[in-house]
Structure formats: C-alpha cells, structure tokens
C-alpha cells in the first residue's frame, strides 16, 4: 500500500457528505488498481480503529464514512444538537416489520401489529428511513414499502444482511421484556381462583 494512496482515499471519504462506496472510490481513482484501493481501504479502517481517536472509519450503507465514536456522544451534543432521530416503540416496531418483511403493504403491517399504522408509516416516510417501492400487483394496487439507504446510514448498518436475524434476536430475549409494567389493575379484581373460574377448559 502506498501511503499516498491511503491519504488520497482518506481525503475523499473525509469530504464526502454521505457514505461513499468502495466501487465509487475505485472509479474516481482509476489510475490505481482496484485491489490496491481495496487494500488501502481496509488498512485505513484498521488504522483508525487502532488509533482510537474521536472518530472512526465505519463501513455503512454499502460504503465508508467517518463518524464520531458513540463514547463521545455527550461531549459532541454539547455544541451541536442531536438531530431528532427519536423513534418511539411503535415506530421501531413498524420499522422492524418493514425491514424484515419488505416489500410489504400497509395492510400487512397492520395485520402483524394489530393496529392502524398510517401515522407511524407517514412519519417513517418523512424521516426517510422508509420509502415507497411501488405498487403491489394485486387488486386495489396498494403501495408497497421498504427501507431506504438512510435507514442503513442512520442505524449504522453495512447492508440489509447485517441486520440481526430474527432467530438471533429471539436468542437474546432470555430476559423478559415485560417488567416495565408494575401491575395491571384488572388482575386484582379476580375474586375466584382461576381454576374454578373457567368452565370451558
């Protein structure tokens, strides 16, 4: 690897306002061999990883981008405002369904969630993490949705394949997620024991 090449690559990524793909870098630097560029890129990523400075070179959304390390969030937000990347539980749930099941229609999402999702979908569209892919070839031609490049960028994913599989997620879920709720009031109204309560079981 020529150190000049790695500096050239670094300067290009550094001034790019969104993630820039390896292919794109190779195209720009057509006087260098693609293999050279690739090698320089991975060495660069390793260098910044090892250095441990305020920012790192991450592989995201099919490309490369310099980003601050999450460790320094509290310092960075002292001088720049965190953009309102606030996602509610229902937004995240809907986004997960779109991400794992795309292309998907609103009706399919609503069937899975059991609630109306129009408002949530609209706000995900406005945040540009979800996009309209087109229309489904079934009666009524409903719109179909999928995730966008911004989704990968915001959630720091290299590509859709790097989403944890649903199986992996289930394995994580050894700890119950329901402890947030203290007690439901209705459970307390039960006067009779459960056993004798249910004639039909």
């Amino acid at each position: 690897m020529s150190s000049t090449l790695s500096s050239i690559i670094e300067s290009i990524i550094f001034t790019s306002d969104s993630a820039i793909s390896t292919d794109r870098i190779c195209d720009l630097l057509d006087e260098f061999e693609r293999d050279e560029v690739r090698a320089a890129l991975s060495e660069l990523a390793e260098f910044h990883e090892a250095r441990g400075g305020g920012f790192e070179l991450v592989a995201v959304a099919g490309g490369w981008q310099f980003r601050t390390r999450a460790t320094y969030q509290s310092y960075v937000t002292r001088h720049i405002k965190a953009r309102s990347s606030k996602f509610s539980q229902s937004a995240l749930e809907t986004l997960a369904i779109v991400a794992y099941r795309q292309p998907i229609t609103r009706a399919e999402i609503e069937h899975l969630r059991g609630v109306d999702c129009g408002g949530v979908l609209k706000s995900l569209l406005e945040k540009r993490v979800v996009r309209i892919l087109g229309k489904k070839d079934i009666p009524g031609r409903p719109l179909i949705y999928g995730t966008s490049k911004e989704f990968l960028e915001i959630f720091g994913l290299k590509d859709l394949k790097s989403l944890p599989t649903l199986k992996e997620i289930q394995a994580l879920d050894e700890v119950p997620q329901y402890e947030r709720q203290e007690e439901l009031p209705l459970g307390q109204t039960r006067a009779v024991p459960v056993e004798s309560d249910l004639p039909f079981e």
Partner: protein, 267 residues
C-alpha cells in the same frame, strides 16, 4: 380524553372510584395496541404462548377494555377488533368438532392463527427494540459537516448546488423565532440601519475573510431589525451576483463567498 390525561384523571379521582382502582397506578399508555396487551397478559399469567387459556385471556382483555371505557378513554377500534377475535375463538372452542373435521384439518385449534400472529408480533417487537438500541447517526454518533472553501469553489464550477431560497428563508424564520418577543414592537431608534450600510459592511467583511457565516453578521446585534436588514442586503447582493450562498447540510450554517474574488483567486 388522551391517555396521559387519563392517567392524571385516575390519580386525581382515584378516591372517587369504587375502591377498585385506587391502589394501583395505571399506565395505559404502555400498550402499543391489542397485540402488545395480549402479550402482556400472557406473560403476566405465566401462560404458555402455545397453549393459551383463551378464557383467562379473553376475560382479562375485556376487563381491560372495560376499564378503559370506565375511565372514559376512547377505546381504539383495533382493540375492539381483537376483542371480537377472542370471543370468536372462544365460541369456536365451545363447539365440538366432529372427528372427521379434526382429522382433516391440522389447524383445527381455533387458537392457532392467533398464536402464530402473537409469536410473529413478539419477534418484531423485539427486533424493534434491538435496532432501536443501536448507536444511531445523529443521536449517538455524528458525521462531519463538510464545509471547506476549496470544496465550495469546486461546487461552483460543477454547477450550482447552492442553497435554495426556501432554506435561506427557513434559516431566517428560525432566527426570527430566536429573537425575544419584546423587541418585536420596539420603535426603531434614530440611527436606524440602512440596507446600503449593511451591504457595504458585508462587502468589507468579505474582503478580509474568504467565507462569512450568516450568524457572524448578526451575532453582535440580534434584533429583528438587524436580521431583516441583513437578510435584505444579502438578497440584494445575491441578485447583483456579488456573493454566492452555500449551506453545508440541512439546517447547517449558511455561508457566503464573494462571487468575483473567488474566481480570481482560482486563477
């Protein structure tokens, strides 16, 4: 009544209710729809999701809806649909299937479809929590806001990727919001600022620096008048093609570059 209002209502009116809610604080807003509520009930009753007691779940589910009604909460249609589904499953369980039907149809258990949906919903609910826990761009991690003079010049040549008027006006709007309200009605003092003065000021600033930020121009004197005059001066300068305007990113700082000297220095 909204759900958060309802919670206050419950807290305030607890003693008035028939003694049955009073000792419990209700967090109705925790349930993200009927599936979420059902999952909670299953967990709470320590039921096996593959072998739910429909009777228990249905009764508690309906109790919950009844509570919402008692509290004058608007019960979303989605919750009623699920109530109907539960009652339907329950009624089907009451009807004995004949042997033939049972043998033919593996899905004979009327709960099967609901269980399938619940399991699937649970997966996505958890997937949502997992992806939400990642370090998000713009929340935990940040990218660089690229503004370097040579880049602005490069964009110049390529073709206008200048900030559009809407974004300029939006920055203006945001600035106006920041100004204290009382200065709104201030009568301008005798030595009011003219647009011509402001234009001269901007031009002389641009002779010293290669780039100037909009905020720099109004920083010392953040009044409505100052901002309006500066804004008008900028529009005029823009019209005369004496300056070019750039914005690093959406809602980022707005920059000005002298249109003429920039090209001269390039040569």
């Amino acid at each position: 009544m909204s759900r958060s209002e309802a919670r206050h209502f419950i807290e305030d009116a607890a003693p008035l209710l028939d003694g049955f809610h009073e000792q419990y604080s209700v967090h109705l807003d925790k349930f993200d729809g009927p599936m979420d509520l059902l999952l909670h009930l299953i967990k709470k009753n320590e039921l096996d999701i593959y072998d739910i007691s429909i009777a228990v779940i249905t009764r508690q589910y309906l109790d919950y809806i009844k509570l919402m009604k008692d509290l004058n909460l608007e019960v979303a249609g989605d919750f009623l649909v699920m109530a109907a589904t539960l009652l339907h499953i329950k009624s089907r369980q009451l009807l004995p299937l004949d042997d033939q039907e049972e043998a033919e149809d593996e899905e004979a258990d009327p709960r099967a479809e609901l269980v399938r949906r619940l399991l699937e919903y649970q997966q996505y609910k958890e997937a949502g929590m997992v992806i939400g826990a990642r370090a998000l761009l713009g929340r935990e991690v940040f990218a660089r806001a690229v503004t370097e003079p040579f880049l602005l010049a490069a964009q110049n040549e390529e073709g206008p990727l200048e900030v559009n008027l809407f974004e300029l006006v939006d920055a203006f709007r945001v600035l106006l919001i920041r100004i204290p309200a009382e200065s709104f009605h201030d009568v301008a003092p005798g030595d009011s600022l003219s647009i011509a003065d402001c234009i001269n000021e901007i031009l002389s600033l641009l002779q010293e620096k290669e780039t100037v930020q909009f905020d720099d121009l109004v920083r010392d004197e953040l009044t409505r008048e100052r901002i309006i005059v500066t804004f008008l001066a900028l529009l005029e300068l823009c019209r005369l093609k004496l300056i070019r305007i750039f914005q690093g990113n959406r809602h980022g700082s707005i920059w000005f570059v002298p249109a003429v000297t920039q090209t001269l220095s390039e040569e």
